[in-house]
Symmetry: C2
Subunit: 253 residues, 2 copies
C-alpha cells in the first residue's frame, strides 16, 4: 500500500481525493488544507491537518495548490528524501526545489467543482527524476486511470498550451454561440448535437480532414454575409482571424 | 406516403438519401444528380436522373446543392404549385423564387463523407410560407429525426454563424493543438479525453460557468509563459485575441 499525503483543497485536490478513495494499492493517509470546509464532506476530518508540523510520513506527497504557491509549499514539507510531486501543467519539475526527490503527476483534464469526472478516462502525465520514483508514480496513476504517459517538462508545457486551445478557447467559442443564440431567441440546445459531433469526429478523423465550413471552402460570399450579420466588434475580430487562419493553414478541399 | 425528389449528390444529399431509406411515412422516388457516381452505391440507379425534363411529380422537392446554385436549380423544376425546399443554413427562403410554395429543411450538423451521422440526433430547422406546408415538413422531419425546430430565415442566419463558431472554428483550434503536439512528439490522443469532456460539460453547465484556464483566472504569469512558448505568429495572435476576449467577457471566478 502506497501511503499518500495530499496538500491542497481546490478542484484538483478534491477530484484526486475522491479518485483515490477505496483503492487497493494506494491510501490517502492525510490531507493538508488551510481551509477544510471544501473537503470535510469527502474526507475523514480527523485526518485533515493545517499545520506543517503535524504532517505524517508517507511514500508520496502530492501538492495540488495554485501554481504560484507550489514552490513555497514544497519547501515547507518537513522531510528530506521523500518523493514530492505537483499536479500542474505549467510548472517545471525543478521548481519543487533541489534537495528532494521530485516528480510531476499532472492529470490532463478540465475540472469544475460542479461536474463529476470519470478519472478512469483522465490521462495522467508523469515525470520523475529517477526511474524508481517514476515506477511508483506509474503504480499510483494505474490505480485511478486507464491511461498514463511519460511526459517531460518541455512536453508538458506544450501540452498545457495545447489544452488551452482545445479546451479553454473552445469553451469560449461555445460562449459566443450561446450569446448569438440568446440574442436571436434560439434555444442553445439546438447546437448541442453539432458540438458533440464536432468533438466525436476527431476520434476518427484528423482535425485537418474534419474541417468543414465556409472558410475551408473559400466561400467568401457566406463569410461576408456572416461578417455583415455580426454586430459585436470582438466577435467580428475573432471571426476574421480564424477564417483567415483556416484559409492560410487548412487543406483546400 | 409523402413522395420526395432530392436534387443534389453532395454530402447533405447523400446523408438525407440514407436517412429517408425504408421509412414508413416518406419515400424518395427520384434523385436528380448531374454526377451519379457519388450516389449509385446508396440509391437505385434506375431512379436517378440528370435531366430536368424527366423529373417526376412529387409532394416535396428537396434541393441539396451548393448555396450559389440553389436559385438556378429551383427555377428549373418544371412544376408550379409544388413545395420546394432547400437545405442551406445561410440562404433565405425567398431565394427559391416567388412563384412556388417555398420552405427550408436545414439539418444542423457537420457532414463529412467519411463519417456516418446518426440522423435521429440531428436537429432539423424548418421554415415554410404557409402552415400546411410547415406541417408536411414537420412530418418529414419526424420521420428521420427526434428533434425539429421552427426557425425563421433571420434566426437561421444567426444559427449558421453560431455553428461556424462552435464547430468550424472549434475544429480549427483542435488543429492547432494537433500541430503543437506533433511538433513536440506528443501523441494527440492524450488530448482526446479533455476535448470530449469540454464538449460534454456544456450539456449541464452554461459555457460561462464551464470556463476554466489561465485567462479566466487572470493568471498573467501562465499567459505570458504560453506566449513565450509559442513561436508561430498566427498561433500567438489567436492566443492573444481569445485570452483578451475571455478576460473582457468572461465571468470573473
Amino acid at each position: 500500500m502506497i501511503r499518500i499525503v495530499i496538500i491542497g483543497s481546490g478542484n484538483v485536490a478534491q477530484h484526486l481525493i475522491k479518485a483515490f478513495d477505496k483503492k487497493n494499492t494506494v491510501e490517502v493517509i492525510q490531507v493538508f488544507a488551510r481551509n477544510n470546509n471544501a473537503i470535510r464532506s469527502i474526507f475523514d476530518t480527523t485526518k485533515i491537518t493545517h499545520s506543517y508540523t503535524t504532517i505524517l510520513e508517507a511514500e508520496l506527497y502530492i501538492i495540488a495548490v495554485s501554481d504560484n504557491a507550489i514552490m513555497e509549499v514544497a519547501s515547507k514539507i518537513p522531510f528530506q528524501n521523500k518523493l514530492i510531486v505537483h499536479t500542474s501543467g505549467s510548472v517545471c519539475m525543478d521548481d519543487l526545489g533541489d534537495t528532494k526527490r521530485r516528480g510531476v503527476f499532472y492529470p490532463l483534464q478540465t475540472f469544475s467543482k460542479s461536474k463529476e469526472v470519470n478519472f478512469k478516462e483522465v490521462p495522467i502525465c508523469i515525470e520523475a527524476q529517477n526511474e524508481a520514483d517514476y515506477q511508483l508514480l506509474e503504480t499510483v496513476a494505474k490505480s485511478i486511470s486507464d491511461t498514463f504517459f511519460r511526459i517531460n517538462s518541455k512536453q508538458r508545457k506544450a501540452l498545457h498550451v495545447s489544452a488551452v486551445f482545445v479546451s479553454n478557447f473552445v469553451n469560449y467559442l461555445y460562449q459566443i454561440g450561446h450569446t448569438i443564440c440568446n440574442e436571436n431567441n434560439i434555444p442553445f440546445e439546438i447546437l448541442q448535437p453539432l458540438i458533440q459531433e464536432t468533438a466525436q469526429k476527431i476520434k476518427t478523423l484528423s482535425p485537418i480532414e474534419a474541417q468543414t465550413g465556409p472558410a475551408i471552402r473559400r466561400d467568401t460570399q457566406t463569410v461576408n454575409a456572416h461578417l455583415a450579420f455580426l454586430t459585436d466588434e470582438n466577435q467580428k475580430d475573432i471571426y476574421k482571424l480564424l477564417t483567415k487562419s483556416i484559409i492560410d493553414h487548412g487543406k483546400k478541399l
